[in-house]
Subunit: 704 residues, 2 copies
């Protein structure tokens, strides 16, 4: 996006002049709500109304068209029936560059609408217009008191930018936001996302100085790769709630890999790769935004959230809070003996000075204050969870003020968890006014902090990745050419998959270790066998692009002990599968059966699956995913954080396999995936680890 366009988006979302096409005084009409939102909430820019049916509207001149207005127009909001929209934009395209199209009746409706939207999109591109929507609610910029939407209300001004693909959700969130004092820089309804989608808006919000946190509600993603690339570079927290997790994939599934990597799981991997904080429910979305928007200050650069202490005026909730830590990566620290001694000195005898620190039910503000002061000397401590249940005598407001003061003067983070309702309401108000959001339950708080801690750790990893040298494929021309030739031949023969010999060849080209085998093509059986280095026992299998699940179809005979048995087995196979090619491999004693696969996700692109293989791959689901592009460093980290990391750690005195070897293997596999775009899916299953800890691709399916 060039600078020129960036400037346009600034003019769009902070316009000096706004025109409403379709403004009306008729109540209940959308054009009426928008006009009143512009007039009534304090916006200080120029406002123009366009409606050829009227001479004046709201005591202002009503224009026949946008072009009739003499002034410059930064933004036009269009709220007329869909069939008139394109014409209006077309007429004004040289005068106005930024449009919000409120009108429904485009691609979301029917074929006619879809055509209409395509036409509008072409116009936008040709004349370099910015168009938000169509079929959207508009947007709200609280800083300039501009409500360019038909949602009523003007939220408080602050650092949260909310992008929502659902107008209804946006309105509900604004309602809840007011109650919980959330503050916004932009609230943008994207509607059909014809042109201004999450990627374009992220690019704009990256440089918007008022935006500290970006929250996005998504129902679909158009360009996943671009989203990952863009988000990765943005140094502001991005929180995404994506609906449609349970969406069923309609594609036919022809490989393990295909069935293992659901499209929503891949979205999760992609978000993690991009350093996006993904949440799984509306409640999490809300809590996380609320929390993170209050904690994006200088403290972030000093402290993370990991080392935690709980102080409480009630033992029970303290234990409940402790329980939650087991589900997180946060750490309840052991307090130093010095701290414990000092706490002991001023606390009553029955108090606990272990973590959680129990200040007892009659704790007042001075006891909280003193405890916080002492804890501030624990250097390694990051976060203090302050639990409070309001007993009848508890001075809740004073304690709230103690927390606020401490938080302002100290670099430790303070997380209040005041449990109750009426008895704590005033205290909670004090906390929230001072940017210390309260959580009503321990789990909610600790999980929210953990989510942010994990996200910060992920961001740190990404920064390290950026710093590492990127690995290029050089001198690979010949490898690519040879491999592509194999694929071309297969395509010429109308095959959907490579034969085993071909697949093995491709693997060899990319230095992925394979197993010796012998092919039987009809009569040539014994000739081939004599030249082979097969060691009995062997396995005999069908080598066909048609029969993919060999075990299921009985195209596989195991434990063949000698030549005689082999001859019988070959005969049997050819009776059951006349005309098919066969192949025999020595059976390998393995320590572990893995799977390594490739899938091309329509939204996020090449995805690598790796984990435990064998016939129970789907039962155990001990698999993980990586998205391309990948560096060796990223691969190694992913392996060590994966479900099969135990293979690389000492168990019962020995290590099964070497993580660097697996890293190389997957790196080579990822180059293959990048080089050979004609390959649709790959299943290496099993990828054996033999007795010596070496990896061997035993069965290889390459779908083209």
């Amino acid at each position: 996006m060039n600078n020129n366009k960036k400037k346009d988006l600034e003019r769009m979302f902070s316009p000096r002049e706004v025109a409403v096409v379709g403004a009306t005084e008729k109540e209940g009409k959308i054009g009426n709500i928008i006009a009143r939102n512009l007039l009534g909430l304090g916006y200080e820019g120029k406002i123009f109304f366009v409606n050829p049916k009227h001479k004046t509207l709201f005591k202002k001149r009503s224009y026949k068209s946008l072009t009739e207005i003499d002034d410059k127009i930064d933004l036009a909001i269009i709220a007329v029936p869909a069939k008139f929209v394109n014409q209006i934009v077309d007429e004004a395209k040289n005068k106005v560059k930024n449009f919000v199209v409120i009108s429904a009746g485009f691609a979301e409706m029917n074929l006619e609408g879809k055509k209409r939207e395509e036409e509008l999109s072409t116009m936008a591109e040709k004349y370099q217009l910015n168009i938000l929507g169509p079929n959207c609610l508009g947007f709200i910029n609280p800083k300039i008191k501009l409500n360019a939407s038909f949602a009523s209300d003007l939220p408080k001004q602050g650092g949260i930018s909310l992008i929502s693909q659902s107008g209804a959700l946006m309105v509900a969130m604004m309602d809840k936001a007011r109650q919980e004092s959330l503050k916004f820089s932009q609230i943008i309804s994207v509607g059909n996302k014809m042109q201004l989608d999450e990627v374009a808006l992220l690019k704009y919000l990256e440089s918007d100085q008022d935006t500290k946190v970006i929250a996005i509600y998504l129902e679909g993603i158009k360009n996943g790769k671009e989203l990952v690339k863009t988000a990765k570079k943005i140094n502001k927290p991005i929180i995404i709630l994506k609906a449609g997790r349970s969406e069923k994939t309609l594609q036919a599934i022809s490989s393990h890999t295909g069935s293992l990597a659901g499209s929503d799981e891949i979205a999760s991997i992609a978000f993690a790769k991009a350093g996006i904080l993904r949440v799984q429910s509306l409640e999490e979305f809300f809590n996380t935004i609320k929390f993170i928007s209050n904690y994006t200050d200088e403290k972030d650069n000093i402290r993370d959230f990991k080392n935690s202490v709980i102080i409480t005026n009630a033992g029970g909730p303290g234990v409940l809070a402790t329980d939650v830590f087991a589900e997180t990566r946060l750490q309840l620290v052991d307090l130093s003996s010095e701290t414990k001694d000092t706490l002991q000195q001023f606390l009553p005898m029955e108090a606990s000075v272990e973590n959680p620190v129990d200040l007892l039910g009659d704790a007042d503000e001075s006891r909280y204050e003193q405890a916080l002061k002492i804890l501030s000397n624990e250097k390694e401590l990051d976060t203090i969870f302050c639990l409070l249940t309001a007993q009848d005598q508890t001075p809740t407001e004073k304690i709230a003020q103690v927390l606020v003061n401490f938080s302002n003067e100290n670099d430790k983070r303070v997380i209040p968890i005041f449990i109750g309702a009426e008895k704590i309401n005033k205290a909670v108000n004090i906390l929230e006014k001072n940017n210390l959001p309260n959580f009503s339950f321990p789990k909610m708080a600790i999980k929210a902090v953990d989510r942010i801690y994990n996200w910060q750790e992920k961001r740190k990893e990404l920064q390290l990745d950026e710093a590492s040298v990127s690995e290029k494929n050089v001198g690979q021309v010949e490898v690519i050419r040879k491999s592509q030739q194999i694929i071309k031949n297969a395509i010429k023969e109308n095959r959907k998959a490579l034969l085993f010999a071909e697949a093995t060849e491709v693997m060899k080209n990319y230095n992925i270790p394979t197993v010796d085998f012998v092919n039987f093509v009809d009569k040539k059986l014994w000739n081939n066998l004599s030249t082979a280095k097969l060691k009995f026992p062997v396995v005999l299998k069908i080598d066909s692009d048609k029969i993919l699940h060999k075990t299921d179809r009985q195209g596989l005979i195991l434990n063949i002990d000698n030549k005689k048995e082999l001859r019988q087995a070959v005969k049997k196979m050819w009776t059951n599968f006349p005309g098919e090619k066969l192949l025999a491999q020595s059976m390998i004693v393995s320590q572990s059966e893995l799977i390594l696969g490739l899938k091309r996700d329509p939204i996020f692109g090449a995805t690598i699956v790796f984990g435990l293989g064998g016939i129970y791959t789907e039962v155990f689901k001990m698999v993980d995913f990586m998205l391309l592009p990948l560096t060796r460093k990223e691969i190694k980290r992913n392996i060590l954080q994966s479900k099969i990391n135990f293979l690389f750690q000492k168990t019962r005195g020995k290590i099964i396999a070497d993580v660097d070897e697996m890293t190389d293997l997957i790196f080579n596999f990822s180059r293959l995936a990048e080089d050979l775009q004609q390959v649709k899916e790959i299943d290496i299953n099993p990828l054996l680890i033999n007795k010596e800890g070496k990896f061997l691709a035993v069965d290889i399916k390459i779908m083209i």
Copy 2:
């Protein structure tokens, strides 16, 4: 508990006369708060104050002692320093039978306090007294407007009985309860649970007609077996929040079984077995109580919750709600074409008549009403989740009233999910006043309903179990005698574990299939070997009660192919482990390695562990647990619901093992566990499934 005692608890919790020992007019004192709670909240029974320092208190006579009072006394509340408590009880023991001991300074404090509590406990037993506490807040019975505690406030009267081991939590919950209009029959703080613990109170609440739902917050459980037995019989929902999930077990762990079954996991199994609904956080506790207390009416006997439909006025939240269903056992039903047609007729064209049904953003009360009416004709439908986001024009209160009316006149369940704050507050009030609790977020609602659905299913299973014939061990005398003799011998020799030969013998006694083996005791090596039916290859291992993790300690040699190799192996072992017994077994080709174990939990008793075995048992954690006693029916159901249920289903065309055979095996194992109480732990690992699908106990450790 005999009838007499039951009556006493009724007198305790619904007393006609209450005396307060330690009453005072001095503000801030506990004796003052209790006295004012009795006087000021409307209790109509007789009130007596005991305090020898005063002649009158609150314009009433102040007695020197309980015995000085002429009237009968149903309940005495004691709020004096701990050191005076026992004497007061002792003096009054013939006059008063029910006490609430508020005073702290007992077992929770120090050794002296512990002694004091033991004394009090002995007195209680000897004189058949009921004592709540010590170290508790007291209790509240809203029906008779009795607050016999030092928490202020009198909650609304209703069907929830809350038992809390934390006073602070009880107060906080009452505060929240008022806000969310929860209604109570009893609120009981149990303190140290010296005598009246959760089991005793459950027995009382079972017959308390006002109690519809029992909610318990626990920090520790004294008698787990009794709790399971009692809860199982109670036909009211019991919800437990138990703190201390992450409690570390301090016992030394000498077996896989020991390390797999954490004490908290066993508590979960026990709760499930008892038909108790366990929740994992304070928020879940609260939501579940709120919800279930509003849904325990006649509808429960007609409908379960499973078949669900979502109706919504916003697509986004509808999709978010749909996503949650994937994490539950609830079902989003396909609507009948008749229903869809009828919906289509009255809804605007853009509305969706699939499930979730989208009524569109401008839906008013009549659109909700009409949709509900049409859906009521879907016979199989149980639950209607009614989502609403408040758009500016949405008549939220009218829609709330529509939901209330429909719910009153119809047997379908209606679950409102109104999302927002200010815009929906009045509507939510209407809903809650009419016993339709609102959930602020879809996930919260659907998860709560799912929790209750699962609990209902569990209760149904338990009822079926009750109906099934119980299985007795008859004619087992000889088996028990023989097995116990083996154990006695080992104990005599100061061994901590049985030798393999002994363990095998015990297994054989209980019809658990084992593997042939040969023992080598020093020189007798070849004599033994000649008599053996060992088939090579064999495995040689140490048979010792001292070396339990053979693989780790290299006390195991695999793949010995002939006599010569065996001789060498024996030599090597005896060099490394001089004087130890050895044993050789033929190696068995297996389809699967399982683990079957026994552990005796200090709280819940004998626990059986079963699942995937082998060296990665702890890595995969594909294990499940069962608590004794067990019927065959229960075992089979547990196996089929377990993580290894795939072994008994067709995979790639074949079934690995027979579930009835495994059921018999575990049933026999459970009889062994019941008969031989001297056995502390058992590990059968691996329990192999051989090529023919037969189970074989290959390695057996029996700890005594």
